[in-house]
Amino acid sequence: MKKTAVESNAKKDVSIVLSGEAGQGIQSIETILIKIIKQSGYNIFATKEYMSRVRGGVNATMLRVAHDRAAAPVDRTDIFIPLEKEALARYAYRLDKNTIIAGDAGLLQDARVNDIAFGKIAEALGNPLFSSMVAAGAACGIIGIGKETADRLIKNLFGRKGEETVNGNIKAFAAGYEEGARTALKNDFKVRIEKNIKIQDELMLSGADAVAIGAIAGGCNAAFAYPMTPGTSVFTALAEHSHKAGIAVEQAEDEIAAINMALGAWYAGARAMVSTSGGGFDLMTEGVSLAGMTETPVVIHLAQRPGPATGYPTRTEQGDLNLALHAGHGDFARVILAPGNTLQAFELAQKAFDTADKYQAPVFIMTDQYFVDTYYNIPEFDIKENSKQNYIVETDAAYKRYALAKGGISPRGVPGFGTGNVCFDSDEHDEDGKITEDLSGIGLKMKEKRAKKFALLKESAIKPALYGDKKYKTLFICWGSVLNTALEALKISGLKGAAVLHFTQVYPLHKTAADIIKKAKKAVIIENNQTAQFAGLIKKETGIGIKNKILRYDGLAFSADGLAKEMAKIAAKAKKKGGR
């Protein structure tokens, strides 16, 4: 830390927080800023936290512009742009003496504010609607970025609205920029981030985009959902692309309908997915059990938010793992995937369809509000096609849907493809899909056939990824959306002999998991929930109890700097207690 300060006082990593009421324009400032920053050739990351209301309240968007890719929230706020007084109070904990607070001093009534009155400047330029552009200009001005690209971009963005709008916005940006630059100078705020022009062509994917487009790559051609934050955004993305990708999209009357539609669609040969959140998923659990009994593939995107019940509809938590693990009565196998970054989200969503189809089992993709709403630039990547379009067989008259096939997977036909009957049965059944009560005969064989999937899916599980010191003594274990934050936190913490073990597949656990964990002198679980649900799963599956826990459950995601402190603290405690 000291070292860096000596080298230069110019920042290579700037965080900007915009805050204001819903509907007050944060969204448009964000949109413009992101475009300008990325098109100017800088890494950009954006995440938001918002209240469950359409107007009013206090929301915030955090942006990071960084030399190295930074893809996690930080508490440290270099630039704070409050659009209303309440924002200052709500986010007081994020501000320190180094934070540049820029905004309308008259409105904000706070001595720390660097006065840039976005609204008044816009009005002076003839249109109060320009104020978002003034604010975007100011942010750019403070970090000294984007001046050269702004005009062109504004033309692209507003071209169809006519010259007046374009020119007004160009002027608004320039005015804001100037004020921003002045503010930076006044505060001796220096930024030196190298431009990398390739970033212009990188992808900006939110977690929701990545899941949805990954699903399309996996052959998703049917999507059913009932709106529920934060599950909706994946559904909306699929609807948006429905023409291009040929997706049958239907908003169901409720979540029960959605999952039963998905099963009907798979039965008839489609590759369907549902997207929901905890409360909606509760209603799907009987359908999950139906998938288990009928060996019907299905892909479930479960975007978590804090529960129980309605909880915080627009906040984040990793609190539904236990539910996903055990939803649906009776015993049957399933797979639970949990991407840690947008590329993984794309790849896992794609893979989910193949896994579901191949093993005829429900496959979950678990994300959360933080994950689906967060986005940042990533390089273009190769799309690996699944080797098969699908696993459907043509049937003949002798076809039996639940044939006692060796290996445990009965070939799956679909109605209308071949001459056989494809009989899907929710009761215990014989090979033909006919109800049976031959308890110790075919009934038992069916139970045992289905149980083989536990082993099959375990064998094909994805290995957890180890980041950091391969000779780790301290191992930080996490799953899903925590990845980027944990990695940055580890770096910030400067801990030696430490590593992060991240699971993109949380169930079944890969067979090496226990050994990797046991190798650590000290294992620490990091989860965005109250009871360390994943630690519970690890204990249940491996017998290893993880006593050291870093849990956050106030509805927000971890911040990299906040988490770094917790990591350091828990590592220090280790030394005192256990010695080394």
Partner: protein
């Protein structure tokens, strides 16, 4: 030779004398006369005595969860519009547990036929009241007798502007067969609510009772007038049997789905996944 749609060598788990047998026979006859390609036929049902019907047909079927036949049926049709999809289930299944799907399936208007065995009781679970049980009907749960107004499926469907609404009776096989044929030929959601006697648990609404309390509607009735159809559907002493209401002007669900907007009704599983489409979409995210 037997009916090709009938499953052979299958033990039927219904009680001797159950109205379901009559409905099954009628469905089989209707299918034969319609001569639908057997391989393109899918029966969809929930759980209940009536919902076992598909198990006794020689066709594909989706025998899903109690109350959940309709969403599955809509999606089956949506995944492959070339299939003929017929739902067959009980009054509890369709109007009780499945009530919300019933309402919204009518609105959705998939081109499917929905046959409900309405025996005014929960048969499989041994005789509790169903939404269509008549007032005063006592059961081990309704110890003081049903007091609620029974649900009138036809009136409900007409209120929702269903595209085809008919009432039939298991005892009137000839008439019922004609109704089923019209329903299957009708493009859009077609409801056929069929009175059926549960000889084990409904000692009130027996074969005889249904015979005495229904009549076949005269030829001249015009099913195109919604308000008139509603009035007709409310008649209860005796109940009219026949096609009560038809609205042919409703958009059909599967035709409104993106993959079929261009009138190509190739089933989804026969369409190749194009990675180029994914690339195009990703390109918009730069």
């Amino acid at each position: 030779m037997g009916n090709i749609y009938a499953k052979e060598n299958v033990e039927i788990a219904w009680c001797p004398g159950c109205g379901n047998f009559g409905i099954r026979n009628t469905v089989l006859k209707a299918l034969e006369e319609l001569s639908i390609p057997r391989e393109n036929l899918v029966f969809v049902s929930g759980i209940g005595q009536s919902a076992k019907a598909p198990q006794y047909y020689n066709t594909s079927y989706f025998n899903g969860l109690h109350g959940r036949a309709l969403p599955a049926a809509a999606a089956i049709k949506g995944a492959n519009p070339q299939l003929k999809v017929i739902v067959e289930s009980g009054d509890g299944d369709m109007y009780g547990e499945g009530g919300n799907h019933f309402i919204h399936a009518i609105r959705r208007n998939s081109d499917i036929t929905v046959i409900v065995h309405n025996n005014m009781v929960y048969g499989l679970t041994k005789g509790q009241a169903s939404p269509t049980s008549r007032p005063g009907f006592t059961t081990p749960v309704q110890v003081d007798g049903v007091f609620e107004n029974p649900l009138n499926p036809a009136a409900l469907a007409i209120a929702l502007d269903a595209s085809f609404v008919a009432r039939a009776s298991a005892g009137e096989q000839e008439k019922t067969k004609e109704i089923i044929k019209s329903a299957v030929n009708h493009k859009g959601f077609a409801l056929v609510d069929i009175f059926s006697a549960c000889v084990s648990f409904n000692k009130v609404n027996t074969h005889k009772w249904f015979k005495e309390n229904t009549y076949i509607m005269e030829e001249g009735y015009d099913p195109k007038n919604r308000a008139e159809a509603f009035k007709k559907s409310l008649e209860e002493g005796p109940w009219p049997l026949g096609i009560l209401y038809i609205n042919e002007n409703k958009p059909v669900f599967e035709e409104k789905l993106a993959p079929y907007l261009n009138k190509d009704n190739t089933p989804l599983y026969l369409r190749k996944r194009e990675i180029s489409a994914v690339k195009d979409i990703l390109d918009t995210k730069k």
